[in-house]
Symmetry: C2
Subunit: 283 residues, 2 copies
């Protein structure tokens, strides 16, 4: 379940040491296929290697201190929707009480970034401090992309955010978008040909903007490969808890939701908001 | 419904003008009680005054532009829980698209304030920029108090936050606490003798800490006079939407929840988390 992620560093550390072993194994394999046999010592070496690998796996899973932290990044831009980011982020905050994670809040510069939407000049908002810029962000396993009014139009720096998504997508294990964050991912071209969803009030607009994406109208969230896209605003909490379940197991997802006193929507197709918006049935 | 709040400024503006009128009315009343009579002009003056007052009320209710913005404050302290604040705050952000509000994010100083919990040194967190200090905060109609690990122990500045709550409580129209934010309100003494609720994992502790409060175990939120207290973390979204319904009507609360794609819990007694924590039945 979570071995792929959690053992990443252990695998890397073992890779160099294993390289020589593999060469020896290939050599032995060739010898066996050619009708040869293994010495007792060679057989014991193989058993010992397998045991060491298994111990590494068990230690990594059972002992959080030995886990390599997952490197999570959250994209921030002027006019991002507060709950799009802070629903998932607080789920990750709670997860990090028991599971090693690192978090980078990534913006165009290190200046604080406001949720204030240009479309509503008299609206209230909050201002968040980023930890990294597009150029200083560390390697990422997970990129979280919130939506909001700021995803529309051509705000200064938004093109840089899109370039950042495009550049970092190949290294990601998971990309998670919330609400109209999917529009930024679509503009970066990384959702092309994939199934995805977005805010239901923006669905028709978004479909028109990015016709190469297989937009799903009725969905709380959609998973296609490493792309996890979700519906509007509070759907970000559900998609991240579903992701926690995928990576760390159902029990951990339940624990995080319990600490948040949040009743999860566990059915990714649950979507009364698509119905309320009169969106067409999916094919 | 919302006249008490929305007409506050109009009432104030009229008070000075009305003072002279009242003195005249009292004089007229005395005259009538003493068997005297009103002139035609005096009768017309009374009718005209009543009409002007009624027009002021109607204008204030129908035309948002004439509404005095509600002054909302949110208390911030190191180790506050991110979603405790940002669930309610994003509901208010959305409300502010159509309804005039002002927001003050109030901390011990203007330095950015981190959600990072001292209890979990390796946990991730986010950092928010306050707009006001305890001494520079404007007059408030509503004070929102999030919870989090930071409400426990004796962090520097926490005593000042408690003093701030105590000092500002009398002027408030509404105080809204989320999660263990109720502990700060209880420590400020403003919940004494009132019904209130809090995070269900902290309920027993909190009850012991503040035995003078009538703690309700099974509740998503509790209203007692102007005190709206809610359960853990995500319950803040429900209590604020319930408050929006109380102040601005059910339709507006539904609109805000719809924009957030959030399925409200509208029953304040809904609380599977109290059940999961094995809390005793309420008397």
């Amino acid at each position: 379940m979570h071995s792929a992620i959690l053992l990443k560093a252990e695998v890397k550390a073992l890779q160099a040491a294993n390289e020589q072993k593999k060469r020896r194994e290939r050599k032995r394999k060739r010898r066996i296929m050619q009708g040869g046999s293994l010495s007792v010592q060679e057989g014991e070496d193989i058993l010992q290697s397998a045991k060491v690998d298994a111990q590494f796996s068990i230690i990594a899973i059972l002992n959080p201190a030995s886990q390599t932290p997952l490197s999570i990044g959250c994209l921030l831009f002027p006019g991002f929707q507060a709950l799009d980011a802070f629903g998932p982020l607080d789920a990750l905050n709670v997860l990090s009480y028991s599971t090693p994670l690192t978090l980078s809040l990534i913006g165009a510069s290190l200046s604080p970034i406001s949720t204030h939407p240009a479309a509503h000049p008299s609206a209230i908002g909050q201002t968040i401090v980023p930890t990294h810029t597009f150029s200083s962000a560390p390697p990422l396993d997970v990129l979280l992309i919130p939506g909001g009014y700021g995803t529309r139009g051509s705000l200064p720096g938004l093109e840089d955010a899109i370039v950042f998504i495009r550049a970092r997508f190949p290294e990601l294990k998971y990309m998670i978008t919330v609400c109209t964050g999917a529009r930024l991912a679509a503009r970066a071209g990384v959702l092309e040909g994939r199934r995805a969803t977005t805010n239901k009030r923006a669905w028709l607009d978004t479909k028109e903007m990015a016709p190469g994406v297989k937009w799903v109208a009725h969905a709380r969230w959609v998973v296609d490969g490493k792309c996890w896209t979700s519906a509007g605003v509070s759907a970000g909490i559900d998609v991240v808890l579903a992701w926690v379940e995928e990576v760390y197991g159902k029990e951990k997802a339940g624990q995080v939701a319990g600490v948040m006193e949040y009743e999860r929507h566990e059915d990714s197709r649950w979507d009364p908001f698509a119905v309320a918006c009169g969106l067409p049935e999916d094919e």
